[in-house]
Structures are given as C-alpha cells and as structure tokens.
Symmetry: C2
Subunit: 289 residues, 2 copies
C-alpha cells in the first residue's frame, strides 16, 4: 500500500532518524486506515474544500460528527458558501489536523493530518437522517440550537479516498473499504496524558526500554513521542549524530481502553529491566539506570 | 459591503445579543479587510483547497508566510498531492482558523476564520522570488531545511476573493484591493493577554464601562471578549434574558502597538468612572461599583 517516493536531495536536507543498532522484535503498528479513523474521530472541526460556481476550489471551516463507517457528517446552512456549493456539486474533501500538536518550536509539518475525499449527499432515508443527526450532535451538542433554523442541512461525506500524513516520513493512503472497516484506536483519548506522565516521571524506564527492547544500547536519554494500542514510539539520544533515533516498544497485548495504558507501560518497563539484567554488559554499560 | 442575510427562523433558534439601552458613541471597528489581514498575519498554518485531475476539491494542510500585500506564500513539494495540483491548475483557496480560540465549552462556529481565494503562481522574477522566500521563511524559519530538496517550489496565492467570519453575526466579504491595502491590526499580538488581564484583575472597571460608555446601565457583570486597535468589545450580563448583551468601548485614539493597550484601557476606565460620577442615579444604581 505504501508508495513512498523520496525527495530529490540536492544538499544538506533533513533525513530519517537512525534505526536500531541490533535486531528488535517486530511490532504491529496502526494501519494508515486506523491512523485516519483515529485522527478523524479525535476531532470535530475540520476544513472543507468545495467547488465554486466556476469549478474553483473554496476552503472553509466546518464542524463534523462521524458515522459508524467513518463518514463525516456536516450540518451547514445554505447561507454559507459551502452550503450552496454542496447543493450544486457534492464533491468535497476535508482535512482534519491534529490541533493539539502545533506549538511554538514544533514544526507544524510534523503534525498529523488526514484528507478525506468523496461526495457529500443529504441523507436519503429517515434511518440515514437519524444516524447522521445522532452522529453530528454526539460530536457537536451545541449544533442542536440550529435545528430552529430552516436553512440547515445534514450532509454525509461518502469517503472515496483517504490520505494520512502522520508527520515526517509517516504517511500513506488508504482505500475506502479499509477506512470504513478500521477501528479508531480506543486508547487515543489517553495517549497525550500517558506520554506526559512517562516523560515527566519515568525517564529512567524509557531509557532502559530504548536500550533493550528498542535496540539502541548506546542511548543516553529517551522520550515517549507516541503511544497507541499496539505499542509506544520513543525518540532516543545517541552519539550517532544530531537526529534522535527512533525506537519502538511493542505492547504484549493489543489494548482496548485508555485505562490499559498503565499496565502495558509498566509491563514494558519490567521486561526492559529483565533484559538489561540478563545482558548487563551491553544494556547497562553506563550503570546509570 | 455587508450583505447579511438572515437565517430562516422556524423555532427556538439563537439570536443576536441585545444592544445598548441608551444612545452610545459611535465606534470605529476593523473593516472586514482589516479583520482578514489581521487573522492571516497572526498564523502560519492553514488548510489549502486545490483541484484533483478530475477537477474535484482536495483539502490539505500547508504552512504559509505573508507578502506585504497580504498574498500568502506556500513552499510545497511536488511529491505532495497539492504540489502536483498547483502545477496542473493554480486555482486555490485557503482557510485560516483562529486556532487559539476553539476550546472545550466554546462553540467552534464562534471562532474567527478567513477564506482567501485566487490563483497561485510560481514567482516570475528574481525580485518576486526573493520576496516570496523572505516572506515564507519569516513565518516558517524551519522550512529553510527544505532548500536542500529539489522538489519544493514557492507559490504565491494572488488573492481575488476574501471572506471573513468573525463568529456569530460577525462576517463579511472584502474585495482584493481593500484586502491588499488594509493593515493588519498591530495590537493583535497583545490582545489575548490584555483580555485575560482585564477579566482577571479589572472586572469592576469593565462593569462600569459597560454601564456607562457601553450603554447598558442595568448590567450586573461584564467581560472583555475582543480588543482591537480601535476599542474593546464587552459581553454584559443584564436582566434582559439569557443572552449576554454586547457593549462597545471605543478608544480615544487608534493604537499603533500592543504596548498602547494598557494606557488605552486605563483611559477608558477613567472616562467611565467620570461618567458614572456625573450621573450616579442611572449608572451607579446598585452602588456596587
């Protein structure tokens, strides 16, 4: 599915972080479809691209809810450009950006985002209308107020194409079927808190994980950067150049809820310490952990 | 310029906040073009709408800088869908959303946003290229790294249409000339801090401003919601229903820098207290301030 094409490097350009020095366990990762479903479910504001009368693109902001199959539902007025546009031509696209990430000092291009493209339609049956209404109001309870306006329609975007960009070097497309069938990551809601907690209170455990399970025995520091239902991504400082190394710490089981994160990270730390005790010469060389 | 069309009210729908009870001073406000320039200059990440090969809309995320005339400058790779799209058809649109505003409990549709639409071109002269490069890197210094990639182009979006939405009941269009000529509000950078400070430490002054200058003698509490170079918008609680009332407090002079905000708000508070002292029966009725 991946069709990664390399940039045309003509100078001193950024590179991918160095990988592990030693062989590591393979780790399941979220599929691009799971990444997309997770990001789309985590937000309720997106940018919408529609077509003007001349067939030119028009960007605007809308709120959305999500149907069970991942199709977004808008609730927009015909007084707005995008509302009139959808009535003329239902072809539309949204981009959902991981709003919590862009911050001072963080490259915004390293922020996760998902483009969904397809065709929007007004629900065709009472059943579909009820499902669309429920999906939208679940995400946007305030939008119930607009039910008093006669110029608002629900629109379901039937997704045809999915493009996920997780950040540098993490991007892929997904087809409509795999997107519809994928499950949003149930631990996503607790990930930011878990990352903060691990980095603030368990830097020693992260370092020993990076040195052992992660395959970077020369690591001098490690930080959690992402956590998902299958494992944890670390960034490790090593003597191998200016870019931090990437380490993956798989969880023993696929998690089903944010509450599972604590036990899973504790188990990973225990396993790392056991590995370090088994091979102290390579993993515990500095004696610092 | 305003072409406000009312929603088709069929039930218990939201309404505009009540206005002043008594005649108030007229106050200059930012024009729609000034609002748009201010918002566009305050950010560097936006959503871009381009066209696919089939002429369908495609939404994505890009970073941007701003030329002196307000035209945004992108720096994108032909490896990305939107980079290839611009080479095929330069028609494009962006939406810039006031990212700092959407928060839990705040209706995202009350967030400021601006749509710019026009045609993007690659700079045609060395002078234009230098200006585009400088504008982009001023906003996105990290993007200098991509100069090592041969597949990145600068694109200048020549703005034709501007649509500003400030939130409920605050929206308007601007033409290309007024947008190009408008000045971004120089106090915008300090507005959030000033609002926070006024609400935290000067609630008494805001209340007396709302009762006097603002024209709401029955106000029981007031909060600053927006500050610009021309004045301050307050939200006042009154016994007149569930929606907060809107009050405008004009500044005596047009401000030129965030540092001017302190003196301007102090002067407004002094003027409000003088007015209250002159007509204590109507303005100081409760004796609470």
């Amino acid at each position: 599915m991946s069709q990664q094409i390399d940039h045309v490097v003509i100078g001193n350009a950024p590179q991918m972080p160095p990988g592990p020095l030693v062989e590591v366990e393979s780790s399941r990762r979220r599929t691009p479809a799971e990444e997309a479903r997770t990001l789309v479910h985590s937000h309720s504001v997106c940018s919408l691209a529609t077509l003007t009368e001349d067939g030119a693109p028009w960007a605007s902001m809308v709120t959305y809810g999500v149907m069970d199959d991942g199709n977004p539902v808008f609730y927009v007025s015909t007084l707005a450009e995008h509302g009139r546009a959808l009535h003329r031509d239902g072809r539309a696209s949204i981009v959902v950006v991981d709003l919590d990430r862009p911050r001072a000092g963080v490259d915004p291009l390293d922020t996760g985002r998902v483009t969904l493209q397809g065709t929007a339609h007004i629900p065709q049956s009472d059943t579909e209308l009820e499902a669309a209404r429920a999906a939208h109001f679940a995400a946007m309870p305030m939008a119930k107020l607009y039910q008093g306006f006669g110029d608002f329609d629900f629109w379901v975007l039937e997704v045809d194409q999915v493009r996920w960009v997780g950040g540098y070097g993490r991007m892929d497309s997904a087809d409509a079927t795999s997107y519809a069938e994928a499950e949003p990551d149930p631990v996503a809601h607790g990930a930011a808190h878990a990352i903060e907690h691990m980095n603030a209170d368990h830097a020693d455990a992260l370092l020993i994980m990076a040195r052992t399970i992660g395959g970077h025995p020369d690591a001098t520091a490690a930080r959690a950067v992402r956590i998902d239902r299958y494992g944890m991504d670390l960034e490790a400082d090593t003597p191998r150049g200016e870019w931090a190394s990437a380490a993956r710490i798989p969880f023993a089981e696929t998690l089903g809820a944010p509450e599972d994160l604590r036990a899973a990270t504790v188990a990973a730390a225990r396993r790392a310490r056991e590995l370090a005790a088994t091979e102290p010469s390579s993993h515990g060389a500095t004696g610092a952990v």
